[in-house]
């Protein structure tokens, strides 16, 4: 069902490649750990060598050779153009309007791109207490464009969030393991599927009645160059 299969690459790799392709050279990216970090580092190693990686720990222009396990790994500071304090990061750089693209993930997303990374269930008596918003609320309103990366399941793509951690006004794209969603007239709409994925697969992985774009596209599988750059990052890293 997912973009796994006989192509010889994983769903996560497909997601990282698709997100990376959308980063123009020179883009200033606010990245978190995991898939966003993989995507932004991949962009920097392929078509966007001047992509600026900003980690919320305060490292601006980090150029890690391996994927960091945490946003505070020493290599990020060692390779950064500048290291600033956390209050400065959020006040001068994010609130200051200097971030082009902010990446977010979440446990739940709704059709408007609103995200939940706080709780499953009731806030006062949660079924699952998640880590919480961290930087997300202000990234979602402070970065110019928001890219969301999330595996597509009915549990994650829900009609109604249990909690709204961040708002979806600036979400420009949602990259999933099945395809690509973009907002059309204020609602996330399926615009592309990964090779081997049917539109009905995506519908049944979505907890609301998913809008489908009339001109459906199929994403290009990762090229050899993309895959080898990706694997070089992954084998040196931890994730």
């Amino acid at each position: 069902m997912s973009a796994n299969g006989d192509g010889g690459f994983s769903a996560d790799e497909m997601m990282a490649v698709e997100a990376a392709r959308r980063l123009a050279d020179g883009t200033v990216c606010f990245v978190g750990i995991g898939l966003p970090s993989l995507a932004a580092n991949l962009a920097r190693r392929t078509h966007a060598p001047n992509c600026v990686l900003v980690y919320e720990s305060g490292t601006i222009g980090a150029k890690p050779t391996r994927l960091p396990l945490s946003i505070g790994d020493g290599e990020l500071a060692e390779t950064a153009d500048a290291v600033v304090s956390v209050p400065e990061m959020f006040a001068y750089w994010l609130q200051g309007g200097r971030i082009d693209v902010g990446f977010l993930g979440a446990a739940q997303i709704d059709r408007h791109g609103n995200l939940n990374s706080t709780v499953i269930g009731d806030y006062g008596a949660p079924k699952v207490r998640l880590p919480g918003g961290g930087g997300a609320p202000e990234i979602a309103t402070g970065a110019r464009d928001i890219f969301v990366m999330l595996r597509q399941t009915p549990r994650a793509f829900v009609e109604r969030l249990d909690f709204t951690t961040s708002v979806g006004d600036r979400v420009r794209v949602v990259v999933t393991d099945l395809g690509i969603l973009e907002p059309r007239e204020g609602e996330l709409t399926l615009v592309a599927v990964h090779r081997g994925v049917e539109v009905d697969d995506v519908r049944s992985a979505t907890g609301w009645d998913l809008r489908i774009a009339p001109e459906m596209k199929t994403t290009e599988p990762p090229s050899d160059a993309e895959l080898s750059a990706l694997r070089a990052l992954e084998t040196k890293g931890h994730t």
């Binding site: 290291v83 959020f90 309103t141």
Partner: protein, 282 residues
């Protein structure tokens, strides 16, 4: 000024205090946190942007009554199981939460350091958090823009780990600086653990110095950030973070781990020896 860590914690931290152990993935004051657990401090309000393993330990062992935070996870790994158990099941105690965003926490610390009553930011917009936390809206008197106001952090005690202090107690830290300077300056009392005591501080690129007169106690604790790290002295122990997921998942296993490596050890040197002995036995 330069005193053993157990004296510093005994003399400067009281039951019921609001305590901020800061460190944004780097320079996390684990040794000081362990000493809080050893001395059985109770009813603490713990403040931290990113309560990771050290707060998981303090919550799980019963030191905390309340947590003020913005992101409570095991970085790069997943959940904090002791934190979750406290919130979801009130084990071992009920834990009150005051939850913020990173930007809000950072503004609250900076305001505290500046002796202001609240931090100001363009934040908390549109989500559900404002209904569950201490944040209000204020109107800019010049433009009419509505902005978020968060009450400043004024902890009773601020605790950080740094690379160096000199013999008079001046402190230098460098690398990822997080919100540690603000945590010290916002607090009524401040404790700093350090990797090394040097005769003379040599300024490092990107380094900051906290003069001795804003710090109440400096304690030598080499390796005192473990499993976090001290840039220039140690590496982050990534395997420990991954392994903590398993250790902390089970209440009994967690308690046995804390007993063996923290409560039954006297200080940071014995803690490291105890971990090394376990590695050798495995």
């Amino acid at each position: 000024m330069i005193v053993p860590l157990n004296d510093a914690i005994r003399d400067l931290v009281r039951d019921g205090d609001t305590v901020a152990l800061e460190g944004f993935t780097h320079l996390i004051p684990h040794a000081a946190g362990h000493e809080l657990a050893r001395q059985g401090k109770r009813e603490l309000t713990l403040v931290r942007m990113t309560p990771d393993i050290v707060y998981d330990q303090l919550i799980g062992i019963g030191c905390a009554r309340k947590l003020v935070f913005s992101w409570g996870g095991n970085p790069g790994v997943g959940s904090l199981h002791r934190f979750r158990d406290a919130v979801e099941n009130a084990w071992p105690l009920e834990l009150e939460l005051e939850e913020h965003s990173h930007a809000g926490m950072a503004a609250a610390y900076a305001a505290g350091a500046a002796n202001l009553p609240f931090g100001l930011l363009r934040g908390y917009r549109g989500g559900d958090l404002p209904a569950h936390t201490r944040v209000e809206t204020v109107t800019c008197p010049f433009t009419g823009e509505e902005l978020a106001a968060v009450p400043s952090h004024r902890p009773d005690v601020g605790i950080i780990h740094a690379q160096q202090a000199d013999r008079r107690g001046n402190v230098q830290l460098w690398g990822i600086l997080g919100v540690q300077k603000e945590a010290v300056l916002a607090a009524s009392r401040a404790i700093v653990t350090v990797e090394e005591i040097v005769d003379e501080i040599e300024l490092r690129p990107g380094g900051i110095v906290l003069p001795s007169w804003v710090v109440d106690a400096v304690s030598l604790a080499p390796g005192g950030a473990h499993p976090s790290y001290a840039h220039g002295y140690s590496d982050r122990d990534n395997d420990f973070y991954v392994g903590w997921d398993e250790v902390s998942r089970d209440r009994d296993r967690f308690r046995a781990w804390m007993q063996r490596h923290v409560l039954d050890t006297a200080d940071v040197a014995e803690y490291h020896a105890s971990l090394a002995a376990e590695m050798t036995a495995a």
